[in-house]
Symmetry: D2
Subunit: 414 residues, 4 copies
């Protein structure tokens, strides 16, 4: 078996992590059991370019039990859990190509290694695998029935390829599933962002004014959790409909110019840049915490913060202190990068469970229906979305109602 990992000796520790994650991945577990019985992916070759973590390992193992032959490479040079990679080799015979901290050349070589496999289905997280396939390995494409993509960024790239007519097989966008968004954005980001801020600072949030910039799904989740921890929430927005919704949800709404006078904690989650900038820093209260939960580290204008400060220090892990000429101090958390990933542990396994259940069922769907699909990006079918919600409820022992024949007729009579 081919593979390239850090150290096979780490396998025991990795298996422990895989087992721990499994406890919280009840939906994938139900899917794995069915897969194991039905073998819907028997002998299908899959190449997966995903973050090599304990949660991903559980996805890969479910696909393996479905009968698939699967190879795995890292989707990012920094995200690999080396012990998990070792366990995948030693205990599960999954050819894995991933070393935490690998250089860019190695990263790209690993992607090629799993393409050598002549995949029939590809799974991607950021679209590096699918782009490499289109760019360098033209001859392999005829075998490929379709692919899945996990992230918004990857979907943007693939949509652009489809619009330009160069995408050569159908893609299912896992990112757009309701069951993913609900868990990822509202509940996952909501809890883990506050968790990151508390771990970074050990501050008590009750009684503080927490400013949330952006009231999309993530912003809603964060605002709701901050309120639940006893904070009074201020929302800033550029979209008046969202601003109004924040207001009706009981939060205060104002411009950032005004909010800087009140805030004790600032959390940006807009997807835009310079949401908090030079003029804002000048008028913030001393002691304010600055955190970002948006994808890129450009929401807080860190260069301005650095140039305005007369003294910068690191009083605590994940905290950088900026002191100003007037004596005020501001605290930047996690260097303005995703505070839930840097200062806490990112999404709970329960969140990844929903996301990866979408991956697993989308692969099955591609295998069965690729003939009917265009060379385009399409959403996870609603039936799969519902099935995942149903499995989640089942995994928690919860039963819901179903429509009687009479009720179905009633609904259709219009």
């Amino acid at each position: 078996m081919q593979y390239e990992i850090k150290d096979i000796q780490l396998a025991d520790k990795g298996q422990q992590r895989i087992d721990w994650a499994r406890q919280s991945m009840g939906v994938l577990e139900l899917i794995r059991k069915r897969f194991s019985k039905e073998r819907p992916l028997d002998s299908i070759r899959i190449s997966a370019c995903l973050h090599v973590t304990a949660e991903t390992a559980n996805l890969v193992l479910a696909l393996k039990e479905a009968g698939a032959h699967i190879r795995l490479a890292a989707a990012n040079p920094l995200s690999t859990q080396d012990d998990v990679a070792a366990a995948l080799i030693r205990f599960h015979e999954i050819p894995t190509f991933a070393i935490k901290g690998e250089d860019n050349a190695t990263y790209l070589r690993h992607i090629q290694s799993i393409l050598d496999w002549h995949p029939q289905i590809v799974m991607d997280d950021g679209a590096d695998l699918i782009c490499a396939l289109h760019a360098d390995r033209d001859l392999l494409i005829s075998d490929v029935r379709g692919g899945t993509e996990e992230t918004a960024t990857g979907i943007s790239r693939l949509r652009s390829m489809a619009q330009n007519g160069v995408l050569r097989f159908p893609i299912v966008s896992v990112n757009d599933a309701d069951t993913k968004r609900l868990f990822d954005n509202r509940f996952g980001t909501g809890q883990s962002t506050l968790d990151g801020i508390i771990r970074a600072t050990n501050h008590l949030l009750a009684g503080l004014d927490v400013v949330v910039a952006g009231y999309g799904w993530c912003g809603k989740g964060i605002a709701d959790r901050a309120k639940g921890l006893g904070a009074n929430v201020i929302v800033t927005e550029v979209d008046p409909v969202r601003a109004l919704e924040a207001l009706m949800d009981g939060h205060r709404v104002m411009s950032m110019d005004e909010a800087v006078k009140h805030g004790n904690v600032f959390i940006t989650v807009t997807g835009n840049k310079t949401v908090i900038g030079r003029e804002h820093f000048k008028r913030m209260k001393t002691g304010a915490l600055l955190a970002n939960a948006g994808h890129f580290d450009v929401e807080i204008d860190i260069p301005s913060l650095e140039s305005e400060a007369v003294r910068v220090s690191s009083p605590r892990e994940s905290v950088k202190e900026f002191q100003f000429a007037d004596g005020r101090r501001l605290f930047l958390l996690a260097d303005g990068r995703l505070v839930n990933l840097v200062a806490a542990e990112g999404h709970p396994a329960q969140v990844m469970d929903m996301s990866f259940a979408n991956q697993a069922l989308s692969v099955e769907y591609l295998k069965n229906y690729y003939m009917q699909l265009d060379r385009n990006v399409s959403a996870v079918p609603p039936a799969i979305d519902k099935e995942i919600a149903r499995l989640k409820l089942e995994s928690m022992g919860i039963q819901i109602d179903s429509l009687s024949r009479e009720q179905e007729d009633y609904l259709n009579h219009w």
Copy 2:
């Protein structure tokens, strides 16, 4: 001036109601002021078939100040506020055709009366006016530039006409605007449903198990308000994604079969029939309250309730008591009709403000853009939706952020 109303002497009282409603209709007020300056509907003839209430009067007056000539008929024989109709005649010279309790022939005649007017734009609430126009007054249609429709039911009728190719002018569906839905469904229905239950019973909700059947926008609003009043909420659903959302929102989720063992209060808001039926009544706890917030009175199976009961009485206005052979008593509120309309006052004026702001701006939009519109039902343009949210914030003295040039560029660079 032509008109047909109950009693012109009621005008003073009606004007007082119109003024009171105006206090809470800040968005329409800002629109009225602009209309008054710009006169965008100068000399346009409008026929409006709407519920003749204080809130509607404010809409009509705003359109009048825009320069329109407008005639008004009732959209329902029972919903007319006779004093408001009188005030519209005496103080505002709006030809009005509406008498509370009018018989069906009169109702239909009133619709014809406002069509005699040769309208250029029609406004409807249930589509009776627009259907009459298509059915009986073919010759008038060539003048008509377009129409608006307020309700989901009306939109269904008009969509069906469009699909069959018989709709002869464009329709704007006010019902689908975000700013209407947010206020109407979540916040309007949420508060007024609980208000109706409290007025009907004077019960304390804290500490009770409140079962909400259906977790659409209305159900969410009701569940949220019930929780806010100290109840513990149980949600029943047939859609697993919604059920899961209810669970993640902190509510309990179970089948109605199970919920009947726990509930002290039941609220149906599903849009379906027989959501609570014969088998459920048999196992409910004595003292349970049954209320409906869905459009029709079929969600609670009242015939079964009546046939199972050994004794029926009316202990309190809007409350009917059903006693069973085993001694248990169930209380049906508002005869299973919309509890917020029957036992309370329906939507607050603030809610109608948003809805009617959509009406007013949709009329202006139709006047300007009818040439570009198909003979179909289209949504309120997002720009109008945003403008209304912006005006609502402005009317409350709230400022929000806007994108800098640099930020717009950043968003577009993908």
Copy 3:
């Protein structure tokens, strides 16, 4: 049988009200059943001066089933429900002396009528009965074993008598029981105050700034319910510990001087006077609602409001509009009197259930233990408080844990 009521023909309607209230008075019902079996008050003569309402009727009937002979007079000339009085006569043979709207002389004569009875135990609500007994009917006192008092105001009068050495029998203060306070102040006043404001105005509370003046138990209850309805709450206080608690509970805290700039709704519940005064009215936003939930109508300075206004009108029942020279309008609800009593129905029967369960068990306690009690005001014994909580849980079908022998030993080993 002696009695003096409005109209015996109202008895059927009154009985219906009594039955309706009984549905919600599960604790008193359990007590009534035990009383009926054990007859703990056999042949005891009780004179009760209480508000003659459906809830009081249920208390009186429980005492009657305990074997007591009881006479009832009104505790306030305005609070009598004449139909309930009639039902007490016709169906239950309770000598009742109460006519809604009776003049003061009649009111006092009625109190004398129930004293003529030579009571052994007296029950009071405001201490008028007990004061009359001490002042005018000295000879009767030797028979009296003790009394109960429902209100804070009555307790103040009786404490003052005790301190001056003139109180001649022991008093149990129902007002101080935990189970009364919890229900009355936090949950009863909380819900009914918001209910009163909504009934008076039909305003939507979501998205508004609601200012609550005073953060005692009532203020907490009101603030919590306002937040639960989607408002953003501002608390004003004079006590820094309470102010801090409000802040930590997630509310905003500021001076009234500052709060008047923000508030859409103001609710006073401080027990003090002129909490909102002339200078405040001058700077409030137009459209603000002013409501009081404190005992007296002095918390909002109405004379100043009247003298500052240039025009006063009544746009809606329970609403008075004050227009100022600068065009702003403020709306005073319920003339500044208790908004939950005037504009809604006051405390739900569930709340009175707890209060009257304390009354019933306190009467039994007085009968058994008056020999051991001082001529002073004492609290409801904790054992009774706990028993009532236990009965409430039982009436709702809820079971809780009890200490094991081992656990009791553990707790006592310190």
Copy 4:
């Protein structure tokens, strides 16, 4: 200068921690500034036996600026932050006797070392210092004007000494201050307990059933935070009044026997033993988390858990997995010890700020009023409690109202 610490080289790191904590200790900072100006403890000798942490350092430095001469020893052999101890020596010249992990003999010797100092005031956390003073150093007592005690356990010991007539100077019980309880119990324990559970497991709490055993101040705080994180809360209690309050607060209430069928997470905070025992483990759902937030590790019956399990492992730091013969797995967090201390960082500095502000002002109070105080344990005077709340509000820039002369008269006229 005498001292005994681990390593003076750690001083820089320790000073950084002291500075970080100071940011969050605004009340103590305001007191320090006044102390620095007024020098109210000039030349007073203080011996303090407290946990040697960054927060304590800030307390000690405030007392030093008040003019006191102060010596510090550890209140627990395990709680010392060695770097903070080093900073106190090097930068602040506080004689400190504390080494993390010191053996019991050293611990006791250190207490003697600070007694050698002939203290005039003693500060204690657990009463070891004060007991040693009474037991071994009789001759020193005549100098001692009084002492403070931080903990409930210490207060129990001292109350027992007072009752037996052996306590020889007055004690102020910091533990009973409102401002301490509010922060410590409700908000401090509330947030940090959930924080501990999340850090230990990285579980998503939204949608889970969280069982809180005990509804005292800590239990309330925990239940409130769990609800705020999207959980549905079940409360178990032995006291019916508390159980009823939990119910009215919107939680479910049931016996632990029933709760074990539902719970995903269990948190004990009763102060009792065996709250969750052998029979409960047998019926819990697989995957349940068991955490304790009560003082001692006896609330969860760990020996039963160990004897029932067929396999025990440690899948994650602070998590112990117990597998049963039937395949179910339960997860014990932090070995059943205080989960907020073991798996998170314990109380935020903001919480200790309130507690230590009470310490600082109680020392000043003892110095001024010891002549008037009995040899007994007394509460922190309400005036100090209020002053601390006032300072906390001031430190957050919040202004509240004060009574006008007219209002004070009104309150006093009863």
